[in-house]
């Protein structure tokens, strides 16, 4: 099998992994080396699905001894199998890196023979890159669940970021669809990586040149929509991971049926992209806007509103917190206003030191006035002519298409983005009314 076939097969098998970031570590090449990493991360291209390509994302091999039902590489699935040799993969990475196609390597693998053997092959690839090529670019490695602790540690010292995929947000879903994996087998390595990073930090304080263990932290991904787990459950799990496991990122992947299975949605079901989008929006609110999961959803409202984003939804349900006076409000209150983002809030804080802000100034600062105007005052005055009822705001915020969907009784399956395929045809009209009602 030539390199082209291998690359095709092993890219195809790895592309459903969502993470492709190269952020979180800043470093330049040493003497005789190649490569650097920028803290902000760099996207090198965007695929036709609109997702960024930053790293060469491949599997070491798609030969796998496990049989996870949702996975294209499961043992029982008939598909061509191949593997990269460590040298082949390292050479390919350097060839791409020199031409500025990529920022580094994202290396995952099916489990070949056993977890330890697989992990050793990955370590050898990374060793060639780091030691033979003195490569200082970004490397993201997937921890192989079940591999020996010392091997995970060695991998972590060669990589910038490590990840273990949660895949499914609940124990029940996991045992149903990934019988060979368990909560313990996932959270075990995750805790190991967390401890490795913590311990390494104290070592770095004492010895400046101690090798860094996964300096860009760890991440994970969850599949959304393969099982009946709700947004509420998923978001709470993500929050727990950020707080208890110190994760840098949680990725959400709308389930796209690629294999036929009676336990899974049928092939041809549309991926719940809108749901995934809402989860990312909420995730941003957790990480950068000071929200907690139970502010956004609660046991009575377990699903995100399809019509307005989570922040807008929160604001509409908490009109008592508004209006916010832009000339005086602290940062954390500004961040709660729909239409004011992290950049907008920062600029408001800067600009109001020298001049009192008027509504027309806010546009210059990058505030989306169309949304923010209902929730702010400038020196005690709001934009003239606004009707401040919850219903009128909602109507003003929805796009024509959404209003149209809401007013006509369209069957939800015909909507361009289906919300979710389980539990019937998405949110019932009555349920939507409940959201919209005061």
């Amino acid at each position: 099998m030539d390199l082209f076939d291998k690359l095709k097969i092993l890219t195809d098998a790895a592309k459903y992994d969502v993470a492709c970031t190269s952020s979180g570590v800043d470093r330049a090449a040493g003497r005789g080396g190649i490569g650097s990493a920028e803290a902000c991360g760099i996207c090198h291209t965007f695929a036709a699905d609109g997702r960024c390509v930053s790293l060469l994302k491949v599997l070491m091999t798609n030969k796998c001894v496990y049989d996870c039902r949702y996975c294209v590489n499961r043992r029982s699935h008939e598909t061509p199998r191949t593997e990269f040799s460590p040298r082949e993969l390292a050479d390919l990475t350097i060839g791409f890196y020199r031409r500025n196609y990529i920022e580094g390597l994202f290396l995952s693998s099916g489990v070949l023979r056993n977890p330890d053997y697989t992990c050793e092959r990955m370590i050898e690839t990374l060793r060639i890159l780091r030691e033979d090529y003195r490569f200082c670019g970004y490397i993201h490695a997937k921890a192989i669940p079940g591999a020996d602790r010392s091997l995970i540690e060695r991998l972590g010292l060669l990589a910038d970021r490590m990840s273990v995929n949660i895949e499914l947000p609940s124990h029940q879903s996991l045992s149903l669809l990934a019988p060979d994996k368990s909560k313990v087998s996932i959270l075990g390595p995750m805790g190991g990586i967390r401890d490795g990073i913590r311990q390494n930090r104290t070592e770095l304080v004492r010895y400046r040149h101690a090798p860094k263990f996964a300096p860009a932290g760890q991440s994970t991904q969850m599949i959304v929509g393969a099982t009946p787990d709700t947004d509420y459950r998923i978001l709470n799990l993500a929050q727990g991971l950020y707080r208890n496991y110190g994760l840098k990122r949680v990725f959400y992947s709308a389930y796209l049926p690629v294999v036929e299975n009676s336990l899974l949605p049928a092939v041809g079901t549309k991926p719940p992209l809108l749901r995934e989008h809402r989860l990312y929006q909420a995730d941003w609110l957790l990480r950068y806007y000071g929200f907690s999961a139970d502010e956004l959803l609660d046991p009575q409202h377990q699903t995100f509103n399809p019509y307005v984003d989570p922040k807008c939804n929160w604001a509409l349900n908490h009109m008592e917190a508004f209006p916010v006076e832009v000339n005086r409000a602290p940062r954390e209150l500004l961040l709660r206003v729909p239409g004011i983002g992290v950049t907008g809030a920062k600029r408001i804080l800067t600009a109001r030191r020298t001049a009192s802000l008027r509504p027309e100034d806010l546009k210059k600062l990058g505030v989306v006035l169309k949304r923010a105007q209902y929730f702010i005052t400038c020196n005690g005055r709001s934009v003239p002519g606004l009707r401040l009822t919850r219903d009128s705001i909602l109507r003003a915020l929805l796009s024509a298409r959404e209003l149209d969907l809401y007013s006509r009784d369209l069957p939800w399956e015909d909507a361009p983005q289906q919300l979710s395929f389980f539990g019937g045809p998405g949110p019932e009209r009555e349920e939507v009314r409940k959201w919209l009602a005061t």
Binding site: F4, T11, K15, D49, G50, S54, H277, R347, Q417
Partner: protein
């Protein structure tokens, strides 16, 4: 303050600083500041501002002292932008700076500061995008790339690529501005270059390009096809210098065709993960 005069300067940053000197010396604000590239005839009298190293140095030294440590970098970057009439905006910005001091950087709602900040943001964004979108090809061990940016980004790209390839010989040719960044270990320069034709790729280079195109096509998840999202993250004007789009070999069905247009509606933005 008289405004019925146009400054004509030599197009260099030092020349522009001399215009600032002149503006204070004569107690006037010019109606425009034009470089040799601006061929514009008006009824307003023009005055040639001769670049003078001593005057430029005096102005340059005063900027950090009077307007703060962030100002010199900001003004230099503003000079690299493609903002029409950037020279006069910079002159007005500096005049504001001498009046308000370091606070001028916070006057984000002031028309001049706002205009310049937006232009600098565009410059920063474009240079950031190009850090990813530039494609090198290898010719006899050296790397060469071509770009067509709107802003003059080469000075901003230089530190990034020198850190990335400390041991390489490489060249980035800016076709739009007729200049090239030429680097070799421990040395770098930006030189004016008019026409530059890169040689034909050799066998190994062609193979690596083909591997990259294969990877690029394969990595798309077809069930999530979303060309609008791709274009908003990666505007089409960058495509003609990128290996995955512009090589002569056919790139298959994923190559953007007019057919894609019908499928572009209703796409959701995908969160690009930084």
């Amino acid at each position: 303050m008289a405004r019925d005069v146009i400054y004509r300067y030599d197009g260099s940053f030092e020349g522009l600083l001399c215009c600032v000197f002149e503006s204070y010396d004569r107690r006037e604000i010019p109606a425009a500041v034009l470089s040799p590239d601006d061929v514009q005839t008006t009824l307003i009298p023009e005055r040639e501002i001769v670049a003078d190293a001593a005057k430029a140095a005096r102005v340059a030294a005063s900027i950090p002292r009077k307007i703060g440590a962030g100002a010199p970098g900001f003004v230099r970057r503003a000079f690299l932008t493609c903002l029409p009439g950037k020279e006069r905006e910079i002159l007005l910005f500096l005049r504001l700076g001498y009046r308000y001091g370091p606070q001028v950087m916070n006057l984000l709602t002031n028309e001049t500061v706002h205009t310049l900040s937006r232009a600098v943001e565009f410059l920063d964004r474009e240079s950031h995008l190009l850090k990813g979108f530039i494609r090198f090809s290898e010719f006899n061990g050296a790397l060469a790339a071509e770009i067509e940016p709107k802003n003059f980004v080469l000075p901003l790209l230089a530190p990034h690529f020198r850190a990335r390839f400390p041991e390489e010989r490489f060249l980035i040719f800016d076709r739009a501005h007729g200049a090239a960044l030429v680097c070799q270990p421990h040395r770098a320069a930006i030189l004016p270059v008019e026409g530059l034709e890169l040689p034909d790729p050799d066998e190994r280079e062609r193979e690596t390009r083909a591997l990259w195109r294969l990877y690029y096509r394969t990595v798309e998840v077809e069930g999530r096809h979303n060309p609008v999202c791709r274009r908003s993250h990666m505007p089409k004007r960058y495509w003609n210098c990128m290996t995955e789009f512009c090589d002569s070999e056919p790139t298959g069905s994923k190559n953007p065709t007019p057919k894609d247009k019908g499928r572009e509606k209703g796409g959701l933005p995908f969160i690009c993960g930084f």
